[in-house]
Symmetry: C2
Subunit: 347 residues, 2 copies
């Protein structure tokens, strides 16, 4: 009473396994009558294709390997969601591997995916990774590789990232349009590209609106709640203190919010605040935090879409690796609103 194979179906119908295989795969040279009969018999015998056998022969597995630091981080959970959604819609499955930000785990993950003959790999590089030989091997084996969020130009593969510069520009512009006069920025370590980009966006938005860029209003934190708190206290103690703060990400903004709330002279809504990332908590704190959404699920979908496009292309035709830069979305909540909103939002 072992599992039904195409031979069982062939025997039942007095035909051959080849015909059954073709019928089930909707091969054009099979009459629709036969196809129908075969499908019926397959259903009756409760047949399930054996993917291992199929892919051993055909070389295709219909599996996409996904490498992320951790599914527990909501950002990556959301990206997986987007990848799996697109994959499933095209008949692909997702094989998941977590690196815990470790190079060793990442290299091992790549090995596992290679052994599994995945048709493509979508990955976000671990923080600790500084060598890329494992990714190079993927490229050498001509397996489509797509990176997201943390892309490495040196690898020269397609990638999906968000436009941090633009997001920061939008956030700052929003505060300007709200009428704030002295807009501060709490940044992060400048060797991390995304933080540097956000600082650039902030500076350029100020310039575009003829605001003075005041070095005193730019502080460099460590990207944490505590750091946001400390930096904000320093900012609020300046002789000419800011009336709004753009924080480099939501946890920093949360610390800033706590510090603002504890300031004796502060009245609610007096100091504008914007974060970055649209973390789940940002909607639930009081006041609701205005922030920049990173379109995480879309990021996964786009990465999967790149794979879908890549997979039938001639390898020789792949000239320039595609790079998709997603538009961030400003999510306006209470924390950045002044009492009177004189102008409606422009696009």
């Amino acid at each position: 009473m072992s599992r039904t194979t195409i031979h069982d179906i062939a025997k039942e119908l007095n035909t051959t396994a080849a015909t059954v295989s073709r019928a089930l795969n909707n091969h054009p040279s099979i009459s629709s009558a036969t196809k129908e009969v075969v499908r019926k018999a397959a259903q009756k015998l409760n047949y399930r294709q054996n993917r291992a056998a199929s892919s051993l022969r055909s070389g295709k597995t219909y599996v996409i390997g996904v490498i992320i630091p951790s599914a527990e981080i909501s950002f990556f959970g959301s990206v997986i969601h987007g990848i799996e959604k697109v994959a499933k819609s095209q008949g692909y499955s997702v094989l998941l591997f977590q690196t815990n930000e470790s190079y060793e785990d990442e290299a091992q993950g790549i090995q596992t995916l290679l052994q599994s003959n995945v048709d493509g790999i979508i990955a976000s590089i671990a923080k600790e990774t500084t060598r890329y030989d494992h990714f190079q091997e993927v490229k050498n084996r001509k397996i489509p590789l797509i990176l997201f969020d943390r892309a490495i130009d040196e690898l020269d593969v397609p990638a999906v990232v968000i436009d941090d510069y633009k997001g920061a520009y939008m956030a700052t512009e929003h505060l300007i349009r709200q009428g704030y006069q002295r807009i501060a920025h709490i940044s992060g370590p400048q060797h991390i590209q995304i933080f540097h980009e956000r600082l650039r966006g902030y500076v350029d938005a100020l310039k575009a609106y003829n605001y003075k860029v005041d070095g005193d209003l730019i502080t460099y934190g460590k990207v944490s709640i505590d750091s946001g708190r400390t930096c904000t206290e320093a900012l609020l103690n300046l002789p000419k203190r800011p009336d709004a703060i753009f924080a480099v990400e939501d946890f920093t903004a949360l610390g800033a919010l706590q510090a603002i709330k504890e300031t004796p002279w502060n009245k609610p809504g007096q100091i504008g605040l914007v974060g970055f990332a649209n973390e789940a908590f940002s909607a639930y704190i009081t006041p609701g935090l205005t922030t920049v959404d990173q379109q995480t699920a879309l990021m996964g979908q786009e990465a999967a879409n790149i794979f879908m496009n890549l997979r039938q292309e001639e390898p020789t035709l792949v000239d320039l690796p595609q790079k998709i830069i997603l538009d961030p979305v400003l999510v306006v909540r209470q924390s950045s609103l002044r009492k009177k909103i004189s102008r409606r939002r422009e696009e």
Copy 2:
């Protein structure tokens, strides 16, 4: 220049594929000298095992199929994390499938996993699922099936769940020990088992401490922020209003907190509040929300552990399906603390 196979290695070493296979699989009847030589050659030729071929022959894939409603929900992201961690440590990979709470998707997911010959399936049943024929097929094919969070007794398979009763009991007990006198409960729809269990835990804790169970203090909401808010307003308008609230889950608690904050006569810390789930935001709102942690990552790990135990057992020996009931963990934050804490926490 195609991929290296064990035949290539065999040719290189003037031996046979069988020996190479055995050496690489650490077979006992191969001398350690040969093993060493084979391993070296494999490395030199950059050999990677072809899992499709291996599993076609051996019947084992070293893949665990995981079915969840959505990786975007942090609860499930966390469970996946736990599953993948254990799986990887035992040489298994995780094939992921999302159902979006739909029966059709779930059934299709099972088909995909069966075609992929996964060695086992770990699943959390979709909300819309009311028929279990697809899971029944998994059982019929003798593939280990483990459920988590949403278990179905009728399926008679091993499961990992959390003890909702106990969690609610602990939450209520905590409020009692803090000295609150009138402890209300905002529950949810009673046809959903977990909410019913939490209500039971609340009632039993009150009884255990000789508190009167007052029907006025038990309200039934719809498990949302808004519902938590509405229910709380009603509670606070009672002639004999509560001095503490145990909410059925964190979003309800969040609504309750908002309502409490807006009550004119309220002073901070006057009304105790406890939630359930330890959502990410619960740590970041003000005041921090005391809540009950559901040990999500552990849930995934335990489910994976059950699979690991099951996989080598004789199918005939599987008498009673294992059911693991995890202990919830009370996470105490500001929202439930009264000014004076007279007694230290007892175990």
